[in-house]
């Protein structure tokens, strides 16, 4: 881990511990996530998703601290954390099935709506403008991520495209920290390319933002992330450039051992 700060970390995990009953999922996680892409990899059950749940307010750690731009997120509800600029996606996409893709994306814009529901009810110009701007931004994001037919109902899309819609929904809030939980699982090669291009375009526009990616597709991690951290049995065992990390004998052992144990 670097001791000299290249850029201020967007999020810091400081000695985070979390146990479910007697099962210690996060033993001691310390990690600085800086602007740009950071991969979080590790075998199944290493605690990757638990890390995301701790940052996004869904779980409270037993010990340690998680700081977003220096400010602790502990004790805050997911909604408050989201309002601080943390967006996330889920392993299995969760969309409103009968709404169109673009309207699903628009649900993600809570930080940008300045009008209240009363203004909307009364059809005030500010509400109309807000709504129009959000719709245009939602279309633009879906376009950037390469999704065709943005007006089709969400449940008419294959799972891969639903994940893309979920990413666009997370981006609509202009997050300071974007958390992607296995974004490429279930995506075809073409979709992965679109996702990579879209995310690259977005980070180019938002150089201050950090993107944390949990992914089993290590090629995707190598393509996107200058650094990757490896989580194993609730500890960060190493972090660095993906190509170095993946050659690390400790990592290889962790992965192979786990893979054999998991049988896949």
């Amino acid at each position: 881990m670097t001791t000299t700060a290249v850029a201020t970390p967007v999020v810091q995990f400081v000695d985070v511990q979390k146990a479910f009953g007697g099962n210690k999922v996060l033993v001691d996680v310390s990690l600085d996530v800086r602007p740009g892409f950071t991969g979080l990899i590790g075998p199944n059950g290493a605690g990757k998703t638990t890390c995301l749940n701790v940052v996004s307010g869904y779980l409270q750690p037993d010990a340690g601290d998680v700081r977003l731009a220096g400010q602790s997120v502990l004790g805050r509800a997911p909604m408050e954390v989201a309002r601080m600029g943390v967006s996330r996606t889920f392993q299995t996409p969760r969309l409103i099935p009968n709404l169109s893709a673009v309207e699903n994306v628009m649900v993600g814009g809570s930080r940008h709506y300045r009008h209240g529901h009363l203004a909307e009810l009364l059809g005030l110009p500010s509400a109309r403008r807000d709504e129009r701007v959000q719709r245009e931004r939602a279309y633009a994001l879906l376009e950037e991520l390469g999704l065709d037919h943005p007006d089709r109902a969400a449940n008419a899309f294959p799972v891969g495209s639903q994940k893309i819609i979920e990413v666009a929904r997370a981006l609509l809030n202009d997050p300071v920290l974007l958390l992607l939980d296995e974004p490429a699982a279930g995506l075809g090669a073409e979709d992965v390319d679109r996702l990579v291009n879209g995310l690259n375009a977005w980070t180019a526009r938002n150089p201050e933002a950090a993107v944390m990616i949990i992914e089993h597709d290590l090629e995707l991690i190598s393509r996107l992330c200058p650094t990757a951290a490896v989580l194993h049995f609730g500890r960060i065992i190493t972090s660095g450039a993906p190509k170095d990390v993946l050659r690390d004998p400790v990592v290889v052992e962790a992965y192979l051992g786990a893979d054999v144990a998991a049988g896949d």
């Binding site: 869904y58 509800a77 649900v107 709506y113 709504e131 809030n173 526009r205 201050e208």
Partner: protein, 357 residues
């Protein structure tokens, strides 16, 4: 702290369609939604709305008193179902206090008029009283789901009707009370009530359509389908569930005030299971979570009520059977039929043939 603030500010400062997203912005024009953002279609919808309103406005001039009464009742049920559907269909909460809140509207307005409040003013006032009551019911209820929510709200609803029965000096107890019917000068009472009902229905549907097809409706559906995960979108699921309760209660009572005017005599037994079950039928037959389902459901229920009139106590069973049938055979309600037909293979073949020719 200041770091976050700056980043937030920086993020907000990026206008849409600026910089690299400019190329994406170019794609927007090509992707315009037909039927949502295009001007032509919304004018067409506006024209249809005006024609329907004019046709409804003409009813008292061309139809007899009975028809006027039936259409009035349909509109009252449609407004009531608009509120019930908001709670059950859009926010996904099976709250069963709707008939009781409807009663609060009917009684609230009738009592208010007796105390010298102008009838038209009692419509929003009764709505506000019911909204507050719905908040009280909703506050514990929004933490419950499914079966438990249904039972809790059903019990609280029954308690409200019981309270109305007990408040004999105000409500006349189980024997009921007569309602002072408000009337416009120069026309028959039936026509006058009809115009009030029509005006209220038009306003309610106009406003709710705007809210439900906009951000409010989207967020409600997100709360329904995503539950607590909406937190990660910066949305408080509990708050929206509570607002849905309050708004639904408000609309129920507004419909209730009009119901009292139509019936001219109200008693507690009108607002029990024998009303709640048909109300559920209206929601599910029309289509839970659909915009115009309440109108279709109310019209269907009116016919049903006429059919089942002679069944007496067995009515509830008959409605229950209809409800079960509706949910199992047509879960999307009658309004989903149009879409289903449109999506069917038969229609696809027709379209292909048209293209070929």
């Amino acid at each position: 702290m200041s770091e976050t603030a700056q980043q937030v500010a920086a993020a907000k400062a990026v206008p849409p369609g600026d910089g690299p997203s400019g190329l994406a912005g170019a794609g927007i024009a090509a992707n315009t939604v037909p039927g949502r953002t295009t001007g032509g279609s919304s004018t067409r919808k506006g024209i249809i709305a005006i024609i329907v309103l004019l046709a409804l406005f003409a009813v008292p001039f061309v139809a007899n008193t009975y028809v006027v009464f039936v259409v009035s009742l349909t509109l009252v049920y449609a407004v009531s179902t608009l509120g019930f559907n908001l709670l059950v269909g859009w926010s996904g909460q099976i709250g069963l206090a709707h008939a009781a809140l409807f009663a609060v509207g009917a009684y609230g307005s009738a009592i208010g008029v007796e105390y010298g409040i102008p009838f038209l003013l009692t419509i929003p006032l009764a709505g506000i009283v019911a909204a507050v009551l719905a908040l009280v019911i909703g506050f514990p209820a929004i933490r419950l789901r499914g079966f438990f929510l249904a039972i809790a709200t059903l019990a609280l609803g029954m308690a409200i009707v019981e309270l109305l029965t007990m408040a004999r000096p105000l409500t006349g107890g189980g024997g009921g009370m007569s309602v002072n019917v408000w009337s416009l000068p120069g026309i028959t009472t039936a026509a006058s009530t009809y115009f009030v009902v029509l005006a209220v229905a038009a306003i309610m549907f106009f406003l709710m359509r705007r809210a439900l097809l906009g951000r409010f409706g989207r967020t409600l559906q997100a709360v329904r389908d995503l539950g607590q995960l909406t937190g990660s979108l910066g949305v408080s699921a509990l708050r929206y569930r509570l607002v849905a309760f309050a708004l639904s209660g408000f609309i129920a009572a507004v419909a209730g005030t009009l119901y009292g005017q139509l019936q001219t005599f109200i008693f507690p037994a009108m607002f029990q299971m024998n009303l709640l079950v048909p109300m559920l039928v209206m929601v599910f037959v029309g289509g839970a979570g659909s915009m115009w389902g309440p109108v279709v459901g109310a019209a269907f229920a009116i016919v049903l009520i006429e059919f089942f009139q002679d069944l007496g106590d067995q009515q509830a069973i008959a409605y229950g059977l209809v409800l079960m049938l509706a949910i199992s055979v047509l879960p999307g309600g009658l309004t989903s039929l149009a879409r289903r037909v449109g999506d069917s293979r038969f229609m696809a073949r027709l379209r292909r043939r048209e293209v070929a020719e």
